[in-house]
């Protein structure tokens, strides 16, 4: 009897301890292991920080060649002093991992299509689908190709292996108590870092920047509405060409390898196909950026000033990690991407550089004709060819058996949307080719920019860059300014890649790329500055065909301000980076108000009439305009938005142009009123009414019309369900297509201004903090400064004993 009581108590006790020690999934929610997690010695309590991050003061490693000193300043930016490149990359890996390990692993798992290994037990097939699409898009495959490229080059091999050693030196020092809190919440542990992960991180950025292609949507529209419609609303070059990166009228040298293709239309028929709306989240439009460099002739100091603010998702941990790295050969400062070696945007003792997205279309789609449902063969030029079927394995957390996917490769690319991912037969037969799915060494671009001393070395560094093309701005202390859109540019025929192509003709397969010397660029132009904001790189005089989604507003505002200003100071540049001028409103609103004849709603009419077209945080004008304009655009293109097909609407610049020039265009007829024919002026009034009604109810629910409240900018954790790790309702102005491009969920992820005087003066800020630990003061301490449009003075230490600013902590790494 006593034995029985004992056994029962023992069972209850051990069951209780077991429950507290593991993740338990109930109805799709994962309960964390409460005993493990709440243990005040080892659980999340250990992640709470007193004043500074918990770092070791020293580390010994056989890998190191000499001694490394790391000085952390007041903002916890590490300044790393080394005596060799391999030690520098080791230190970069070690220090970055010490602050952002969870983010590095999570992002590379996402790129590798391995999120199911972490989240399948709660997210199920949803996360498996995301993983399958990542693999089909070729991130893992192309990362493997890049890695092979790195390992065949002694310098690249040294770089990735040193970085990897550094990261692993950190991981090996960890026990459960030291794990970042996300590991404890989700109850898993970090795995070893590999060189492949460095390549994966770079491909992940390529994926983020590649965005969406319009090929499928435009194919549908050209088949339904005709070529004139597509040329009117999606012209490759607008009639009133607006401010390309390389000034209009510039003559371009032709690559002797090719004859010009911009005028040679080879295929003039488009496959008559349409695809049902694809069930995947699109990369948001607007991942663009601004950069510019002003020559000494226009600055107060006489030295060039370079500025860059890349626009990316607003997340914690921050996309960027600030650092300075010094070796006997170079001294570089800037922001890095946790998981990849080198400084990505920044400056050294001689030059400065920055990046904006080229936004050229770098993906092409083809309709493939398979022999039968096995898809083992497909038709090319009159013959059946064999497809390559690759088995890909996905491990699922909580399941003993992995998922095996069959990915089909053809000469026209990978089949993206097989059964199980979409129902649509047309989509299932679409192959996709992506420029990033090639062997490439983008790493060398950044490694060599870190070391570059002049224009020629900058140009040589850029030649390694492949996908997606970026606009690299440049300035040197010797007075040069330049900008170059560098990246793989295939010599397409006219309109090749604009629509889906016929995947039974090998003539449609990509041939070769324009040599890097012939991609669009300009150096020391007469106007005294260079700039880019994702607009067209050239006017229509460029000899090779390209297409894409380009910016029409930020670029014009930046250029008109830079033209107007003289005696420019860094403070002028800070003002420009934070400029809230709304060009779309300036172009559209007067026309909208002119044609408004709705009675009532005087409050909103007043607000709009008094508004000065600046999207400042406290103003109501931006909210009223934004709501009305979005409503108007929705009504204008109701047909395209509701036909259940994969579709896109034109860019706002083209919408405004056509709205004013052809208010009776058939597309503006509101589809939902069958016996009435509307034109734009009717829609202007209908949309005003429904927008005002919505704004009324918006305010009834306690929200204000202040732009910052309407926009509701937030910075959220990568695991967005962990809302308490995010910051919401950040008081800032700006918006899409505005120089201060701060929208609801993305914005300037780094703002940098570098004055290349004899003693470099640099300023920067980003919306987050150096530490990835939500329990640290350094998790989000920069955010308020960023929101207020303010900057920090960057400390470009000239020696490890430099005392200009306080040093909070020192680390020594030795052999």
């Amino acid at each position: 009897m006593k034995v029985l009581k004992l056994l029962i108590l023992a069972s209850i006790t051990f069951a209780f301890l077991l429950f507290l020690n593991r993740t338990v999934v109930i109805n799709g929610t994962a309960l964390p292991p409460f005993g493990k997690l709440l243990d005040p010695v080892n659980g999340f309590w250990a992640n709470a920080e007193k004043d500074v991050p918990h770092l070791k003061t020293s580390l010994q490693s056989d890998f190191l060649k000499g001694e490394v000193t790391v000085r952390y300043d007041e903002r916890w930016v590490p300044h790393i002093f080394t005596s060799s490149a391999s030690d520098a990359y080791f230190a970069q890996g070690y220090v970055t991992a010490a602050h952002r390990l969870w983010q590095m692993e999570f992002q590379t798992h996402a790129a590798a299509g391995r999120l199911s290994e972490i989240l399948y037990h709660t997210a199920g097939d949803k996360v498996l689908k995301v993983d399958r699409m990542m693999r089909r898009n070729g991130l893992k495959r192309s990362a493997e190709k890049s890695l092979a490229e790195f390992q065949s080059n002694p310098e690249a091999k040294m770089i990735v292996s040193s970085y990897t050693e550094g990261v692993n030196a950190y991981i090996e020092s960890l026990s459960y108590r030291d794990y970042p809190v996300e590991y404890k919440l989700l109850n898993y542990q970090p795995e070893k870092w590999t060189e492949l992960k460095c390549a994966l991180l770079l491909k992940y950025m390529a994926h983020m920047l590649t965005g969406e292609s319009d090929d499928i949507a435009l194919t549908h529209q050209v088949n339904k509405y005709g070529k004139d419609f597509v040329n009117l609303f999606y012209p490759d070059f607008p009639v009133d060409m607006t401010d390309p990166i390389v000034p209009s009228g510039t003559a371009f040298e032709k690559d002797p390898k090719f004859s010009p293709t911009a005028d040679t239309l080879v295929v003039d028929s488009v496959p008559a196909v349409a695809v049902t709306k694809l069930p995947f989240e699109k990369t948001p439009e607007g991942y663009g950026s601004n950069n510019w460099a002003v020559a000494g002739s226009k600055t107060k100091s006489g030295s060039p000033i370079l500025c860059n603010d890349p626009h990316l998702g607003l997340n914690f941990p921050s996309i960027w990690f600030e650092m300075q790295i010094t070796t006997p050969d170079y001294n570089v400062y800037g922001v890095t991407l946790p998981g990849a070696p080198a400084v990505i945007i920044g400056f050294n003792d001689h030059i400065s550089w920055g990046v904006t997205n080229g936004t050229r279309d770098v993906k092409d789609f083809y309709t493939v004709k398979f022999k039968d449902d096995t898809r083992a063969e497909y038709w090319v030029d009159g013959n059946w060819e064999k497809s390559v079927i690759q088995k890909d394995t996905f491990y699922l957390r909580g399941e003993s058996d992995p998922y095996i996917d069959n990915i089909i490769h053809t000469r026209f690319g990978t089949m993206l949307y097989d059964e199980g991912l979409t129902e649509d037969k047309t989509a299932q037969n679409l192959a996709c080719t992506w420029i990033a799915d090639e062997s490439s060494n983008e790493l060398f671009t950044f490694v060599n920019l870190n070391k570059a001393k002049n224009f020629d070395e900058y140009a040589a560094a850029l030649a390694y860059f492949n996908c997606p093309a970026q606009n690299f701005v440049f300035a040197s202390k010797t007075g040069d300014v330049a900008i170059w859109q560098q990246g793989g540019l295939y010599a397409h025929n006219k309109e090749q890649g604009r629509f889906i192509q016929d995947g039974t003709l090998s003539q449609n397969i990509w041939t070769d790329k324009v040599s890097p010397t012939y991609t669009p660029h300009v150096k020391n132009p007469e106007r005294g500055f260079v700039s880019s904001a994702n607009q067209h790189p050239t006017d229509s005089l460029y000899p090779y065909y390209y297409n894409g989604r380009f910016e029409y507003y930020r670029n014009r505002r930046i250029n008109s301000e830079l033209t107007r200003l003289s005696g420019i100071t860094p403070e002028d540049m800070m003002k420009l980076q934070n400029d809230n001028y709304n060009g779309i409103a300036a172009e559209a609103l007067p026309y909208m108000l002119q044609n408004l004849n709705v009675d009532g709603f005087d409050k909103y009419k007043d607000i709009l009439k008094k508004w000065n077209y600046f999207n400042d945080a406290e103003q109501a004008g931006p909210a009223v305009f934004e709501d009305w304009w979005n409503e108007l655009v929705k009504m204008m293109f109701e047909e395209l938005l509701t036909d259940n097909l994969e579709n896109q609407i034109p860019q706002q610049y083209n919408i405004i142009r056509v709205m004013k020039a052809q208010p009776d265009h058939f597309i503006f007829d509101y589809a939902l009123t069958n016996n009435k024919k509307e034109n734009v002026k009717d829609l202007i009034n209908m949309s005003f009414k429904s927008s005002c009604e919505r704004l009324d109810s918006f305010q009834v629910h306690g929200k204000s019309l202040a732009w910052m409240d309407y926009k509701a900018t937030s910075v959220q954790h990568l695991l967005f369900t962990l809302k308490p790790f995010g910051r919401f309702n950040i008081p800032t102005g700006g918006g899409k297509n505005i120089v201060n491009a701060t929208a609801g969920r993305w914005g300037p992820s780094w703002k940098m201004i570098v004055s290349l005087e004899k003693e470099t003066k640099a300023y920067g800020v980003y919306p987050g903090g150096q530490s990835g630990n939500p329990g640290s003061k350094f998790y989000d301490n920069f955010l308020d400064q960023w929101a207020a449009g303010k900057y920090y003075e960057l400390w470009f230490m000239q020696s490890e004993l430099d005392e200009k600013q306080p040093v909070l902590f020192t680390q020594k790494l030795f052999k």
């Binding site: 006593k2 034995v3 009581k5 004992l6 108590l9 023992a10 209850i12 006790t13 209780f16 301890l17 507290l20 020690n21 964390p32 409460f34 005993g35 493990k36 997690l37 709440l38 243990d39 005040p40 010695v41 080892n42 659980g43 999340f44 309590w45 250990a46 992640n47 709470a48 920080e49 007193k50 459960y176 809190v181 919440l185 962990l722 809302k723 308490p724 790790f725 939500p774 329990g775 640290s776 003061k777």
Partner: protein, 116 residues
């Protein structure tokens, strides 16, 4: 009576040490161990474990919260318990330690009785 308080102290100290060098449940297991080798009733077993672990986890989590300004406590409280009150997080932490310790202590005392 004195034995009761001494047991609690011993359990707390051993638990702290064991949790520091190994895993979280090594702490509650100390309540089991102490009551296995030190004479006492089942009730004493439960309460020495309950108070030993409960007070230890309470003191440690309170210190962690106060010395760090409660920054992480509030966020974790919202994520786990939909409340940013440090008090709730510390209370639940203490309770979990206490119940684990109590069950282990009771088990230890009972096992001892059976042994003899």
């Amino acid at each position: 009576m004195k034995a009761f308080f001494l047991k609690i102290l011993l359990i707390a100290i051993l638990a702290w040490g064991m949790q520091y060098v190994s895993v979280w449940f090594a702490g509650p297991l100390m309540a089991l161990g102490v009551n296995l080798f030190w004479k006492g009733s089942s009730t004493q077993g439960f309460f020495t474990g309950f108070l030993g672990l409960g007070l230890l986890w309470f003191a440690l989590s309170l210190y962690a919260d106060l010395s760090t300004g409660g920054l992480l406590t509030g966020k974790m409280g919202l994520i786990l318990f939909k409340s940013d009150s440090s008090a709730i997080v510390i209370l639940i932490t203490s309770l979990i330690g206490a119940i684990a310790g109590g069950l282990c202590g009771w088990l230890g005392a009972m096992a001892r009785k059976l042994k003899n």
